[in-house]
């Protein structure tokens, strides 16, 4: 009973941390969020995405071919709340809260210890890393929740095989959620099967076959799509390390070897070795303590001035890893360590490592390790007579970290990172002003890249009408767009036709001295974001 009360408290805490001010912190949706939102809106109204594709498995979006499931999941919220920031983000928050509960169930199933399950789920509920992606419309967060439940149902399925089917369905569905899952989830499935092969193969064969069939059936459209569409791998190619240029220095070395007739050198100084090294380095980069605890990676992936985990967790994390490694936890040990080790694999073949979103599947292993460490340390301290003092000190450190995080996330983030969150559109898109003009030209350069999508989103432009005009449009980087009276292209002020009936919206330095300023939008932390001129 006490556990249930505590779990309820964790649930409430997780919900509050994920829902409060969800429409205004982070201060603005980024381009991926508006794209997922508008595509959901489009599918909801017409059954087609922005390019007119009927019930898409994958959204072409900005030519990054996002798996489409998030947009479908956003439809209920959008139909209830309308197309706005809140509605787009709520599905992610919902799955974030589910992940916290899922972690409780999964850890309890694995370790058979309620206290451990509770502490782990509590740590996930307050985790800066998890909150970061639970409060924005990022597909990766849904993928994590699916993985947690897929593992949970798999374990349940060892006792009651019906759950195996649920597990297979979730795993197959996860291919439609996020790119990383296409690598991670199959690996997780392999690990689960390997670890629990004995239990699994003693189950009735019929149900095993049935689960596999379900899994194949559900994943078929995605696999079919991947095989038949050349473009689908564009994104993978675009972000993979192989797309970067082979450094000239490396080529020079090979040339030296060639001139020296150095066979060994030619083996060492070639692309394969170079890329192998890059992949391993990319993998290892995720074990950088600075990335985890202090720096994080790009601004949108963490609260300012802090990392992805709390600093006070460091000792408990290390102790937890040690305990799990050396302790007698049987299969739980293998599952958690393998989960931990395969999490960075999808990110390691991409450039831009370490990457907090592509490795979101690291969660909740960090929290499980830390929970193990915390419980162990507390049980050791409790043996001493004066145990209140050290517990008090640890609690002070923990609370300090937590409040520091709340301040960074809810206050400092909107001020420091408004530009990274592409702030400005909500203020600058004002249909009342636009009405008076025949033509509206919007920049799509620099921080206004893909501005057309923000306009579609905030204008709630009827998808039916847009689809007619978007047929030949491409979603690529810096591509020009046009719909209705709106045009999205680079503004070259000297060459623009200056007329009373044309409105220009762009970056401050897009315009010359003679532009008549109608409105200017500033970042909360200072600096001008955008301006409207005539």
């Amino acid at each position: 009973m006490r556990i249930k009360i505590f779990l309820f408290i964790v649930f409430i805490l997780a919900s509050i941390l994920r829902l409060i001010k969800i429409d205004s912190v982070p201060i603005s949706p980024d381009w991926d969020e508006v794209s997922l939102g508008y595509n959901a809106y489009s599918i909801m109204q017409t059954g087609k995405d922005e390019y007119g594709k009927f019930l898409p498995v994958v959204l072409k979006s900005y030519d990054d071919y996002k798996p489409a499931l998030y947009s479908y999941l956003a439809i209920p919220a959008i139909s209830m709340l309308g197309l706005n920031v809140q509605a787009v983000r709520i599905p992610s928050a919902f799955f974030g809260v589910l992940a916290v509960l899922g972690t409780f169930l999964l850890v309890r199933e694995l370790f058979k210890k309620d206290s451990l399950a509770l502490v782990a789920s509590f740590l996930l509920s307050v985790s800066p890393w998890h909150i970061q992606f639970s409060r924005i419309a990022f597909e990766s967060n849904v993928g994590l929740t699916f993985n947690i439940f897929a593992a949970l149902f798999f374990l349940k399925g060892l006792k009651n095989p019906i759950f195996l089917i649920a597990s297979a369905i979730l795993m197959a569905l996860n291919l439609y959620v996020y790119q990383s899952e296409k690598v991670f989830t199959p690996l997780l499935a392999v690990c689960l099967v390997l670890i629990f092969r004995k239990e699994l193969f003693s189950l009735p064969k019929k149900l095993l076959v049935l689960s596999v069939i379900f899994g194949i059936l559900i994943s078929f459209p995605m696999v079919h799509y991947l095989i038949t569409n050349k473009n689908s791998l564009e994104r993978a190619k675009g972000v993979s390390i192989f797309s970067g240029e082979y450094p000239i220095g490396e080529a020079k070395k090979a040339l030296t070897d060639l001139n020296n007739n150095d066979k060994l050198g030619l083996v060492f100084d070639n692309r394969r070795v170079f890329y192998a090294k890059e992949i391993i380095s990319g993998y290892l980069s995720h074990f950088d303590l600075n990335w985890l605890f202090i720096r994080g990676d790009i601004a949108r992936h963490h609260a300012p001035n802090m990392g992805l985990l709390y600093i006070f967790e460091i000792p408990f994390l290390l102790i937890g890893i040690y305990l799990l490694f050396t302790g007698d936890f049987k299969k739980a040990k293998y599952l958690i360590f393998l989960w931990f080790l395969i999490a960075p694999i999808p990110a390691s073949i991409t450039s831009g490592v370490p990457h907090a979103i592509r490795t979101l599947n690291f969660l909740p292993t960090f929290q499980i390790f830390t929970a193990l460490g915390l419980i162990y340390v507390f049980s050791r301290i409790k043996r001493y007579h004066y145990h209140q003092a050290p517990i008090f000190i640890i609690a002070i450190f923990g609370l300090f970290n937590f409040f520091y995080y709340l301040d960074q996330y809810f206050v400092q983030q909107n001020i420091f990172n408004a530009k990274e969150w592409q702030y400005g559109y909500s203020k600058i898109i004002q249909p009342e002003i636009f009405e008076k003009y025949k033509k509206i030209i919007v920049s799509n350069e620099g921080h206004m890249d893909q501005s057309y999508m923000f306009f579609l989103f905030y204008l709630r432009y009827p998808p039916e009408d847009y689809q007619k005009q978007s047929e030949f449009a491409s979603g690529g980087f810096r591509e020009n767009h046009k719909f209705d009276k709106y045009e999205f292209r680079p503004i070259v002020w000297e060459k623009e036709i200056k007329s009373e009936s044309i409105l220009y919206i762009g970056r401050p330095d897009d315009f010359g001295q003679d532009a008549k300023l109608l409105k200017s939008i500033n970042y909360p932390g200072g600096g001008e974001a955008m301006r409207i001129v005539q």
Partner: protein, 533 residues
């Protein structure tokens, strides 16, 4: 014993092979070591004439700890004032550290049945360590300090276990390390303290010997102690440490402002918390995977940029070794993780992190941990001919070969500029034609040219002291403006004339100059040009 000898031979080859030409040339610090050793060997005074300095060698105003110069006197006498002579002590003590590591590890795990394996593999790993090889191949005083620290720990263990007299040797070693390199001045005292605490029971029995050792060490420490209390000693530290960086305070003020000056905000954003986090950040930098396993220190003098300071191969064994050493609790295992943790502290207070040189004091703990993991990994296999085992040997060998190949084939060519290549060639040229000119103007834009002229012309230090015009700025930095007919200036183009020789950067040569000779880096880029106007 035969295996140890083979390891020793390997270590020596990897450290001494072609050190005269790879690294391709001497940095100004190396050149200064050599010339000061030469000067001390001539009339027992350093280059600027201080008689047998014990506290510091002024050099460029960086107040170098003096030990390396003294250790280099004999090599310079024997091998001459050249690259080999300058680098000899570092390579020599590097090889010695490999041997000491063997004995140290045996002593640490003295009650383990695998102690011999641990010891051999540890010293092998140090022998082939990219980190240790790089720092042993150039005149880095840090490398000698590491030797003294290893020696200090080893003799301490021997002292408390077998012969109490070794305690004196141990403490002397630690003190000598403090005369050798700056970071050792922090690491060694903390290490002594930790050792003292770990072995307090044993030491209590050896009170008398401990007191004698302490007195001897303290007397030896006195000259240095007097220097450490002067403002000069703290100057360098202030310049590079994170606590004097005001940008953190500005950030803190900004954040409090963002919170509308709320009280809780002042608590959250107080400077103690900020500096703790900054310290941790710089500390963790030194443990970053990219630094340890990827590209290594961004400074190509410490890393070939192709291999980290450890091999990629080491990673799983480092993790395993660290976990196992805590689990097995063999012998005096505690000293290893503590040593590693302490060794990084001084470097973490500096702005430039990670820094392979400033944390060299942690060697050979990494290698021992890796060896611990690896030996236990091998021990798990019933047959020594297992395929996995063989594959792991092959992979290690490939890692090693890759490093050695890169180091000897590509490294000197690619990074000769980092080693101030071109000075030596230009000085040799100037020396050969100097009699034809009344004045020689040399650019100081590549840094400290005078020391190369002293070094490669084997200038008599007494003449130099008499004729040199030296200036010192408020920060204590020393500039030699001229001696004899050599002028070291920012812009050599001030005086025209057929009897004035100019040595300048290639992009600063005026139009119409008569170019006599161009000096190239090993990658074909121009480094310096000799010309007249």
């Amino acid at each position: 014993m035969r295996i140890l000898f083979a390891i020793l031979l390997l270590a020596a080859v990897l450290r001494f092979w072609a050190i005269g030409s790879n690294p391709p040339s001497l940095t100004w610090d190396e050149t200064a070591w050599g010339y000061n050793a030469y000067s001390l060997g001539t009339d027992a005074r350093d280059e600027f004439g201080r008689f047998l300095p014990l506290d510091y060698i002024e050099s460029f105003g960086d107040f170098k700890p003096p030990m390396y110069a003294y250790l280099d006197i004999l090599p310079v006498k024997i091998f001459g004032l050249n690259e080999f002579g300058v680098r000899f002590p570092s390579a020599f003590f590097g090889v010695l550290t490999v041997i000491l590591t063997y004995f140290l590890v045996r002593e640490v795990f003295s009650n383990s049945k695998l102690k011999n394996q641990y010891a051999l593999v540890s010293s092998l790993f140090l022998a082939i360590s990219p980190w240790h090889i790089m720092l042993s191949r150039a005149a880095f005083e840090a490398n000698v300090a590491s030797f003294f620290i290893v020696s200090g720990v080893l003799f301490f263990l021997l002292g408390v276990r077998s012969n109490a007299r070794f305690l004196t040797v141990s403490l002397i070693s630690f003190v000598l390390s403090m005369y050798t390199f700056n970071t050792a001045r922090i690491v060694s005292p903390i290490l002594i303290l930790i050792l003292g605490i770990l072995f307090r029971r044993e030491l209590f029995i050896l009170k008398k010997q401990l007191i004698i050792a302490t007195i001897i060490a303290f007397v030896l420490f006195l000259p240095l102690f007097r220097f450490l209390t002067t403002p000069q000693a703290s100057l360098r530290f202030k310049e590079v440490n994170i606590f004097s960086d005001i940008s953190y305070i500005e950030l803190s003020n900004r954040q409090i402002e963002n919170d509308n000056g709320a009280f809780f905000s002042k608590v959250l954003h107080n400077r103690r918390a900020i500096f703790t986090v900054e310290f941790l950040k710089h500390y963790f930098d030194n443990l970053s995977p990219n630094f340890l396993f990827g590209k290594g220190d961004g400074n190509p003098k410490f890393s070939i940029q192709e291999v980290g300071h450890l091999y990629l191969w080491d990673f799983p064994f480092l993790v395993m070794g660290t976990l196992l050493i805590f689990k097995r609790k063999e012998g005096s295992w505690k000293i290893l993780p503590l040593w590693l943790v302490i060794g990084i502290i001084p470097a973490a207070t500096a702005r430039e992190t990670p820094h392979a040189l400033r944390i060299e004091a942690v060697l050979p703990t990494f290698q021992v941990l890796i060896a611990y993991g690896f030996v236990n990994f091998i021990d798990n296999f019933k047959t020594k001919k297992s395929l996995i085992l063989r594959a792991s040997y092959v992979f290690l060998f490939i890692n090693f070969l890759y490093f050695v190949h890169s180091l000897f084939i590509h490294y000197p060519k690619e990074f000769s500029g980092e080693w101030q290549y071109g000075y030596k060639e230009s000085v040799k040229f100037v020396r050969s034609v100097a009699t034809n000119y009344s004045q020689i103007n040399i650019t100081d834009q590549l840094g400290r040219p005078y020391i190369y002229y002293l070094f490669y012309t084997k200038e008599d230090p007494r003449t130099f002291r008499k004729e040199a015009k030296v200036s010192r700025d408020v920060f204590g930095f020393v500039t030699v403006e001229n001696y004899k007919k050599f002028n070291f200036v920012k812009d050599p183009n001030i005086v025209a004339g057929i009897n004035v020789l100019n040595i300048n950067l290639p992009n600063k040569v005026p139009v119409g100059a008569r170019v006599l000779k161009t000096f190239y880096l090993l990658n074909g880029k121009e480094a310096l040009v000799a010309y007249t106007i």
